[in-house]
C-alpha cells in the first residue's frame, strides 16, 4: 500500500497573538493602530460614526451617492486630477457602508501611506460637491443599482428585509437603497448629509509597520478641519416575530433557478448569547460542512451551495438562509431547509458537529492574522462595538470553551422556524402551485 492510512494528529499549537494595539487621541479624533513589523503594505481606514441607520427614511442610498461624489473633485483639484493623484500613488479610495458606520480606506506600500491619507482626507473632508456632478453621480448610482437589481437576489433580499423589519423603518429597507430611492435624492440631501456627518473626526484605523509610520501626522491630516461629537447611537430595537410562516413569491419569469431567502429577526450584536448563537449558526449553515449544505448540496444535489447565519449590528440582527436551487426542485428544497432549521431548533447540536464549528471559527482567527487588510477589519470591529484590545484572544477562548448545552440552548432560544419568512425569487408560473401544496406557510399576495 502506497498510502498512509493513519490520519496524523495536530502538532504543537502555535500561540495566538493579536498584534499590539495602539490607541491614541490626536487632533480631536481617535487613532487605533496595530503594529505589523516588517510588513511592506499598510492600510489606513477612516471610520465615521454614521451608517445606513442614520439615513432618513425615504433617502436610502444617500451615503452611497455621497461616497461616489467624494471623488468628483475636491477643494484643491478636479476629478481627473484627483484620480491621477490617488492612482499615481498606486492606490484607490475604497469606501464601505454598513448599518453602523461608514469607512474610506487605502491599501498602499507603507512608504506612500502619508500621501495617501492626505488625499483620503481631502476627499472625505473637502469634496467639491458641485451640484451638476452630484446629480450625475446620483443618476449613475441609480443606474448602477438598476443593473445590480437585474441580478437574482437584491429583490428577494429587499422583500425579506421589509417583511422582517417593516418598510416604514429605515432598517426595513435595503442598506444601499434601491434604484427609485436613489433616483429621488436631490443635491441638498447629499450636501446636508455630508456637513452633518462627514465633518466629525471619527476614528483613524491603521494597520502596518508602525516603526515606519508617523501616526500623529496621519491623524493630523485625517482630522484637520473637523469638529462635533459622536452620534447618538440609540439602543437595541425590539423587533417582534411573526406568528406563522409567510411565503413571498417574487416573480422572475423564465428563471432556471429559484433564489431563496429565509429569515427572521434575531438579537443585536452585544447580546450575551453572541458566541453560542454564532456557533449554532455555523453548525446549521455557516460552513461548507454545515447541515444545510450537506443536505441540500451533498445529499440531494439541489444547489451549488446554501448558507445560513446570524448577523447583527449595534441595534438589531437577523437569522437568514440563502441559496439558489434548480427551479424544478424549489418546493422540496424549501421543505428540506425548513425541516433542518426545525430539527436544529428542537434537538440542538452534537458534540461532533460543534467540535468542527468551534475549531473552525477559532482557527480562522489565526488564519486571518496575515494581511494588513484583515487586521484593519478586526480593529474596525473593536471600534464599532466598543470592544477591548484583547477581544479577539478572548473571543477565541470563548469559542473553544462553548459546550453542546450552551450552543443547543442558543439554537432553541434564537431559531424560530415557525416564524420564518420564506422569500422565493423565481419563475412564479412554474413554482406557484408547488409552493401552495407544501403547506409551509401562508403565501402572501
Amino acid at each position: 500500500m502506497t498510502l498512509i492510512a493513519d490520519r496524523p494528529g495536530p502538532g504543537a499549537a502555535r500561540p495566538y497573538r493579536f498584534p499590539p494595539v495602539v490607541r491614541r487621541a490626536v487632533a480631536g479624533g481617535q487613532v487605533v493602530a496595530a503594529h505589523l513589523p516588517g510588513q511592506n503594505l499598510a492600510v489606513a481606514l477612516l471610520l465615521l460614526d454614521v451608517g445606513a441607520g442614520q439615513e432618513p427614511v425615504g433617502k436610502e442610498g444617500l451615503s452611497g451617492v455621497l461616497a461616489k461624489a467624494l471623488e468628483e473633485g475636491t477643494a484643491q483639484r478636479d476629478a481627473a486630477a484627483y484620480a491621477l493623484a490617488v492612482e499615481g500613488l498606486g492606490t484607490a479610495l475604497s469606501t464601505g457602508l454598513d448599518w453602523d458606520s461608514f469607512q474610506a480606506s487605502v491599501v498602499i506600500p507603507v512608504d506612500r501611506l502619508s500621501a495617501a491619507v492626505e488625499l483620503l482626507a481631502e476627499a472625505v473632508r473637502t469634496p467639491r460637491l458641485d451640484p451638476a456632478d452630484v446629480r450625475r453621480v446620483r443618476d449613475d448610482e441609480a443606474t448602477a443599482l438598476r443593473m445590480d437589481w437585474a441580478n437574482p437576489g437584491p429583490r428577494a433580499d429587499a422583500a425579506l428585509r421589509a417583511e422582517l423589519f417593516g418598510a416604514q423603518n429605515r432598517w426595513g429597507r435595503p442598506m444601499h437603497g434601491d434604484p427609485e430611492s436613489v433616483a429621488g435624492l436631490d443635491v441638498e440631501d447629499v450636501t446636508v448629509f455630508h456637513s452633518e456627518w462627514f465633518l466629525r473626526p471619527g476614528t483613524l484605523i491603521v494597520a502596518g509597520d508602525l516603526d515606519r509610520i508617523d501616526l500623529d501626522a496621519l491623524a493630523a491630516a485625517a482630522f484637520a478641519g473637523t469638529g462635533g461629537g459622536p452620534a447618538e447611537r440609540g439602543g437595541p430595537i425590539e423587533v417582534p416575530l411573526h406568528s406563522g410562516r409567510r411565503i413571498i413569491l417574487v416573480d422572475r419569469p423564465g428563471s432556471v433557478q429559484s433564489t431563496l431567502r429565509l429569515g427572521h429577526p434575531s438579537p443585536h450584536r452585544a447580546h450575551p448569547d453572541h458566541v453560542p448563537m454564532t456557533l449554532a449558526g455555523t453548525v446549521l449553515g455557516g460552513a461548507f460542512t454545515s447541515r444545510l449544505n450537506h443536505l441540500l448540496r451533498e445529499v440531494h444535489g439541489y444547489t451549488y451551495g446554501i448558507r445560513g447565519d446570524f448577523a447583527a449590528s449595534r441595534r438589531f440582527g437577523r437569522f437568514a438562509v440563502s441559496s439558489g436551487v434548480q427551479t424544478a426542485v424549489t418546493a422540496p428544497a424549501l421543505v428540506e431547509a425548513v425541516g433542518e432549521i426545525t430539527r436544529t431548533q428542537a434537538n440542538g447540536v452534537t458534540e461532533d458537529e460543534l467540535e468542527v464549528a468551534r475549531s473552525w471559527r477559532a482557527g480562522q482567527l489565526s488564519v486571518e492574522l496575515q494581511s494588513p487588510r484583515a487586521i484593519a477589519s478586526a480593529l474596525t470591529t473593536l471600534v464599532v462595538h466598543d470592544l477591548p484590545d484583547d477581544y479577539h484572544a478572548r473571543l477565541r477562548e470563548s469559542l473553544l470553551s462553548a459546550d453542546v448545552e450552551q450552543v443547543s440552548a442558543a439554537a432553541a432560544t434564537h431559531l424560530h422556524p415557525e416564524a420564518l419568512t420564506l422569500v422565493i425569487e423565481g419563475d412564479a408560473a412554474a413554482i406557484r402551485a408547488d409552493l401552495e401544496s407544501t403547506a409551509l406557510g401562508t403565501l402572501l399576495p
Partner: protein
C-alpha cells in the same frame, strides 16, 4: 520598496516520483498555506467531454481510500482552515490554509486523494456532483445578465479544436453524458505526482515540509506516459473580424472587444498587462476618462480592460463597457473601439505609465500579502515555467515596460482578428 518582487525565501525539492515541492517560510502569522497545482485543465478535454476537468475537481472532495465522503472538508474546517479548488483551461489547483499545527493533516489529505481517489469513486457520488455542477452552471452563467459572455467569447477567439475553444464549465449535454469509467481513467491519467507541484508557504521550515512530503507522497507511483494537451500555442491570424450580437434579458447594452494577445509568462504578455491597466483600470484609465467621464456614454462602474492569465496559447485581452441610459449599442461600440484603437496611435504618456505601474505594484504586494496568495503564484511559476524563483522577476518585468513597447504590442495585437460581442436588451412585451 524591495528590488525583488519576492523578498521571501524559496526552497525546492523533487521527490523520486517526480513530485516537485516548493517551500517559502514566513513566521509572521501562525498559519500555513498548502497548494497543489495539477498540470491538467479543460484544455486537455476532448470533444464530447467538456466540463470534465472541473467536474472531476468536485469529485476530489468526495472521499478517497482513507477519507470518507465529505470528510475532507470536515477535517480542514474542523482544524480552523479554509479550503477550495479551482479549474481553468490551463490547470486545476487545490488549496487550504490552516493553523500551522495542522500542516501534516493537510498533506495527508492531499496525498490520499492524489493516490487513492479511484477506489472511493462511486456512481452515486458522480450523479450527485453532476447535479451540483449543473446548478453551478445555472447560478454563475445562465441565471445572471451577461453571465455567458465568457462562454461566447472563447469560441470566437479560438478556432474549433483549439484547447481554449470551449469553456471550462462545459456543456450540459456533455455533463449529462459523463460516465464513471471516464473519471476513473481521468484520475489515473493526470493525477500523478510527476504532474503536480506541491507548494507550502508560511509557518513551517523547508526541511520539515520536504520530510513530510516524502512521508505522505513519496510512495505514490509516477506515471510516465501522461498525454500532453492538444497544441495551440500558435494561432494563425485569419484576418477576419468576428461580430456577435445577443438579444437577452439584460438591463443595458454592453460591448466586449477581445483579441488574442500573447501567452502569459512571455515578455509580450507583460506589456499587455500594463497596456490593459492604462486602458481600463481605475478612474484615471483611458476608458474611464473618455467614455465614463468625457463623453459620458458608459456607466462608470462597468468600464474595464484586462488580460486573462492563460499560458498555453495567446491569452485573451478584453475591454468592455456598458451603456448609460439612452446610449445605443452602436454608439457605445464605436466609442469603445476608438479608445482601444488609439492605443496604437496615441502614445502612452509618462503619467499614464507611472499610474499603471503604481497600481500594478500595489496589486502585486496585495496578492503576496497572504500565504495563500504566495502559494498560488509559486505553484504557477513552478508548474508553467519550471522554476518558482521566476516569481521574483515578474514585478520588475512589469515595471520595465515602456510606452514604445505598448504601442508596438497594440499595433500587433489590435490590428486584426477582432472579436466584438454585443448584448442588447430584448424587447419585452
Amino acid at each position: 520598496m524591495p528590488d525583488s518582487g519576492y523578498p521571501w525565501p524559496i526552497q525546492t525539492s523533487r521527490l523520486d516520483n517526480g513530485l516537485r515541492v516548493v517551500v517559502s517560510e514566513d513566521r509572521t502569522a501562525p498559519a500555513v498555506a498548502v497548494n497543489l497545482w495539477y498540470d491538467v485543465g479543460s484544455r486537455h478535454e476532448p470533444a464530447g467531454q467538456t466540463g470534465f476537468a472541473h467536474l472531476f475537481e468536485h469529485l476530489m472532495f468526495e472521499g478517497s481510500v482513507n477519507v470518507a465522503k465529505t470528510e475532507h472538508m470536515k477535517l480542514i474546517q474542523g482544524s480552523g482552515g479554509s479550503l477550495n479548488a479551482t479549474t481553468n483551461p490551463d490547470r486545476t489547483n487545490y488549496f487550504e490554509t490552516v493553523p500551522a499545527e495542522h500542516l501534516e493533516l493537510a498533506l495527508w489529505l492531499e496525498a490520499d486523494r492524489m493516490g487513492g481517489l479511484v477506489p472511493a469513486l462511486t456512481q452515486e457520488t458522480l450523479d450527485n456532483q453532476r447535479d451540483v455542477v449543473k446548478n453551478e452552471r445555472r447560478q454563475r452563467y445562465e441565471n445572471v445578465p451577461y453571465g455567458d459572455a465568457w462562454l461566447r467569447l472563447l469560441p470566437l477567439l479560438y478556432p474549433p479544436g483549439h484547447p481554449y475553444h470551449h469553456a471550462t464549465i462545459g456543456s450540459m449535454a456533455d455533463l449529462n453524458a459523463a460516465d464513471l469509467a471516464t473519471f476513473q481513467a481521468f484520475h489515473q491519467t493526470y493525477y500523478a505526482p510527476n504532474n503536480a507541484v506541491l507548494t507550502v508557504v508560511g509557518d513551517a521550515t523547508a526541511s520539515d515540509v520536504f520530510a513530510l512530503a516524502d512521508k505522505y507522497f513519496g510512495a505514490l507511483p509516477a506515471r510516465d506516459d501522461i498525454p500532453p494537451a492538444p497544441g495551440g500555442r500558435n494561432v494563425p491570424a485569419t484576418g477576419q473580424t468576428a461580430v456577435e450580437s445577443v438579444s437577452a434579458d439584460v438591463p443595458a447594452p454592453r460591448v466586449y472587444i477581445a483579441h488574442r494577445s500573447y501567452p502569459f509568462g512571455s515578455p509580450g504578455y507583460n506589456v499587455i498587462t500594463v497596456l490593459a491597466t492604462v486602458l481600463g483600470s481605475g478612474r484615471g484609465s483611458r476608458l474611464y476618462q473618455r467614455l465614463a467621464d468625457g463623453e459620458r456614454i458608459a456607466q462608470p462602474d462597468l468600464v474595464g480592460a484586462y488580460g486573462v492569465d492563460l499560458a498555453h496559447a495567446p491569452a485573451p485581452l478584453i475591454a468592455t463597457a456598458t451603456a448609460r441610459p439612452g446610449v445605443s449599442a452602436e454608439r457605445l461600440a464605436e466609442g469603445l473601439a476608438d479608445v482601444v484603437d488609439e492605443l496604437a496611435t496615441v502614445p502612452v504618456t509618462a503619467a499614464e505609465l507611472d499610474r499603471a505601474k503604481a497600481l500594478l505594484s500595489t496589486g502585486w504586494w496585495r496578492q503576496l500579502s497572504t500565504v495563500d496568495g504566495r502559494a498560488d503564484l509559486l505553484g504557477r511559476y513552478a508548474t508553467q515555467f519550471g522554476d518558482p524563483a521566476r516569481i521574483a522577476d515578474q514585478l520588475p518585468a512589469l515595471l520595465a515596460v515602456t510606452a514604445e513597447q505598448i504601442a508596438e504590442a497594440a499595433a500587433d495585437v489590435l490590428a486584426t482578428d477582432r472579436v466584438t460581442l454585443t448584448y442588447l436588451p430584448e424587447e419585452t412585451s
